[in-house]
Symmetry: C2
Subunit: 255 residues, 2 copies
């Protein structure tokens, strides 16, 4: 009997129409569905995307608990449990499709799960289907470029704080500040001080039906925002170094 494969199906940021054709096929291919939840009997954002697409999870679909903690010992215990559940199904000859919100390689539990599965059984086939990330959806919604030609982009969980953002801002055309909730007021002060407020946009639950866009970012001071929120900041003052001549020259040849 052959061993099944593990498919990481990125479902995009929330709008079921942003599911790729390949992830869509994976959901319909007879693989056993698994999806992450934060706690027993909790909601799954990843599963909610499939439900919003009008799909019904197969009867034998099972949630896997990935608690929201930074405690490495607790986390690895839950990764192990989930990996064992995955392997039990794979070793019965059936594929597993693991539902992932956003993109499976980007701030996702799927990476940890896949590594744990591999650690237990090194020759398992893992097929990761890439997806649309929240910051690409946010840029599209705003109708603004994340990056134009030669632009540099930094993607930063805002928890690193103002000093970090201040240290790198000069080198980047675009800052994507993720999970800004706990630092939002400090970030607004910093943007004002750097004269970047008018170049900042706030997007909550980007790419979902509950999406909220705020262009007057200063108006958010003192308000509560969702955990799934980000700031896109364009930095028109970025000091650009000289682009390598050879590169420009070669770039001007047709591909």
């Amino acid at each position: 009997m052959s061993v099944g494969k593990l498919i990481g199906a990125s479902l995009g940021p929330g709008d079921p129409d942003l599911i790729t054709r390949r992830a869509w096929s994976a959901l319909h291919g007879g693989a056993r569905w698994m999806w992450p939840i934060r706690k027993k009997s909790g909601e799954s954002y990843a599963l909610s995307i499939a439900l919003a697409a009008g799909l019904t999870p197969p009867d034998d679909g099972i949630p896997q608990v990935f608690p929201m903690t930074h405690d490495a010992e607790i986390l690895s215990r839950y990764w192990l449990l989930a990996a064992q559940a995955v392997l039990q199904t794979l070793n019965s000859g059936r594929d597993v499709v693991f539902l992932v919100e956003g993109d499976a390689s980007t701030y996702s539990t799927f990476g940890y799960l896949a590594r744990t599965v591999r650690a237990l059984q090194f020759d398992v086939v893992i097929d990761t289907i890439p997806g649309v990330s929240a910051y690409h959806a946010a840029s599209a919604r705003l109708g603004e470029s994340l990056a134009d030609t030669d632009d540099t982009v930094a993607i930063i969980p805002a928890a690193y704080g103002i000093d970090y953002v201040e240290a790198i801002v000069h080198q980047f055309d675009t800052l994507v500040l993720l999970k800004v909730k706990p630092l939002l007021d400090d970030l607004i002060d910093w943007l004002a001080q750097r004269d970047l407020l008018q170049h900042a946009r706030f997007v909550e639950k980007a790419g979902s039906s509950a999406e909220r866009v705020v262009t007057d970012v200063a108006a958010l001071r003192g308000t509560k925002v969702n955990y799934l929120s980000l700031l896109l900041v364009r930095n028109p003052e970025r000091q650009r170094g000289a682009v390598q001549k050879g590169c420009r020259k070669k770039n001007e040849q047709p591909a």
Copy 2:
């Protein structure tokens, strides 16, 4: 008569199965197709993705020339021509779907086109459909995370050179170095010197049928690579600042 809208349809990095359901619908919605080419009678990578999906461009589909140059005067002349062609169709009451490779907000000609259209006619409705980017496809293909929890990511056109990469590497867990072709040997030397060679992966034409992955990056020294190539570099030595306590604490609450 109502004015049509401009749809920027991101088709993903090349594999037609990575087209989203929404872009797929847009291709089938009766809008007039337009697609970018580098020079008259040249190939269009964006169109080739739709063709690879088995689609046939409608008879009235038209290519728009976006020459590969950094000359701002030449570029703006071609953006203007394309924007005028778009507006002519929109003002006849018909939608235009503009085919875009990768993600429309990220290193794409679509941003320039959309801004030029808006400059000529400010109230045009523009609907940007986000897509899967090449670096997400590359990460998925490698089965490696672009970012794990709290990781920072820098996306950099390599043309900025070694000094730039050296200046920021300490602040980032992942570097995405784009268009590495003209600098590849210098980058390999730098990776070796920084002891990062074993953490670097090369991907050419990520997410397309001609995709090529090279894990022994040093072996590429002195060879020719395609223009559409990137390096993903993980930096295990990154000095992490303290994560804000409040953030961690709040992050540990379920969303």
